[in-house]
Symmetry: C2
Subunit: 261 residues, 2 copies
């Protein structure tokens, strides 16, 4: 888990190929990011898509210029090597996983770093709330909802949502806590009846793992960073690269620095 | 409705017996208060009860000394005459309604002014949310819940809650808005399944009027200022005086001044 490493030390291990897996629980207190890399020709519309859909796509940093491999706002980063595992999509379809991007890098690529739920989960846990996917040691369940995103050029689609079951009083507290963190998905987008947002069966998530939901709990739904993948499927850019689920970019930003109050 | 009168002008009309009814919609923008008046011997425990139960009993002002009829923090007030209608309880049981307290006043009486839901309803309406009891022109439905208050001396009992139905996204927004106003009941205490807090039938409130609940709405429950009346029934002080429901003390404080952020 390398939970005692600083973000910079952990990135050096990742860059050296010594850490190639999940970053959940690594470098506690520090922001981890979803990554989307696109050719410059597609970058402006994707940036507009993030701007128009800040709950699923909270943009924390963008390359200063096409081809830049650094993201200085987030730390001393080489985006070609500092994510443990990448996914490559061609024309919207998954092609392969890669450990680094040295062979694939092009001078027209633009990198987008988006906030991730690890940051708000840490704030919920610090408040004593049970985060079911954490306490059950699985990936959070995620669902394709019927909540539409605002389209931007070719980027469009419905929102993917993550779900954490909670008793009502804890759900209210979670709304208060997450409201402080708009840069990492912010307050939930729905709670209660899943059919109202187009989810037929909570026990069969579209991504991640099912979790236990107790009789006295409500499902609480957050906008999810997998949403851009649905938009990429729809837009079908010739090349798109993302992090592999759970294998995030670990940054030098502190989660507490993202709190708006 | 006298909605164009300043709080001070409205209180002068009330003091003169020219306004003896509901204050809902009067002096918009200004805080209205629930009132509890008790003999000094009971005041310390009641103050502790409010301190221990700030959501149902958010204390905004207390008499400086027994027998004082002024509440200078809230305006130029004579508490014997500035509430449109009072209720008198003897040994915990309702005895009568009165238009003023001149004949009843005793030098040992202590006045407590508590925040009221009118303040947060104004904030919800200002954000464009539908507040069902307002849009249907009735009193908010209130229920005796199974949520226990923290006891203080003889004062004890369960929380009374008010209910406003909302779609989930509006409920989430309402939680954010009401979180800014801890002095007027703050964030909701429950939402969803009413049986989890001991409410058998939403269509038969214990106080106030039933409201329409749509298929796609959740009931959202707030701690309610009627809770002290339940505690008074339990404590059975020889004399207790409250405002009559809906006939509040109108103060010079602005609702916006109660926002903690």
């Amino acid at each position: 888990m390398h939970s005692s490493l600083t973000p910079a030390a952990l990135r050096r291990r990742i860059r050296a190929g010594e850490h190639t897996g999940n970053t959940s629980g690594c470098a506690p207190g520090f922001v981890q990011c979803n990554i989307v890399i696109l050719p410059q020709e597609w970058a402006h519309d994707f940036l507009r898509f993030c701007q128009a859909n800040p709950k699923p796509c909270p943009l924390l940093a963008v390359s200063a210029a096409a081809g830049d491999t650094a993201l200085p706002l987030l730390g001393d980063i080489d985006i070609r090597s500092d994510v443990p595992r990448y996914r490559v999509f061609r024309n919207g379809a998954f092609e392969e996983e890669r450990a680094d991007l040295h062979a694939l890098w092009q001078p027209d690529l633009v990198t987008f770093a988006l906030g991730c739920s690890f940051s708000f989960e840490e704030a919920l846990l610090a408040d004593g709330l049970d985060v079911r996917n954490v306490s059950e040691g699985v990936n959070v369940p995620m669902y394709r909802s019927s909540l539409p995103c605002t389209a931007a050029g070719p980027f469009a689609g419905n929102m993917v949502v993550s779900m954490r079951p909670m008793r009502a009083a804890d759900a209210i507290r979670a709304i208060q806590i997450c409201t402080r963190f708009p840069a990492v998905h912010g307050a939930p987008v729905h709670l209660g009846d899943p059919s109202l947002i187009g989810i037929a069966d909570l026990h069969h998530p579209d991504y991640g793992d099912a979790v236990t939901i107790a009789e006295d709990e409500l499902p609480v739904f957050w906008a999810c960073g997998v949403t851009p993948q649905v938009a990429l499927e729809q837009a079908k850019p010739p090349l798109a690269i993302t992090h592999s689920p759970g294998c995030m970019l670990v940054t030098d930003l502190r989660n507490s620095q993202l709190a708006v109050l």
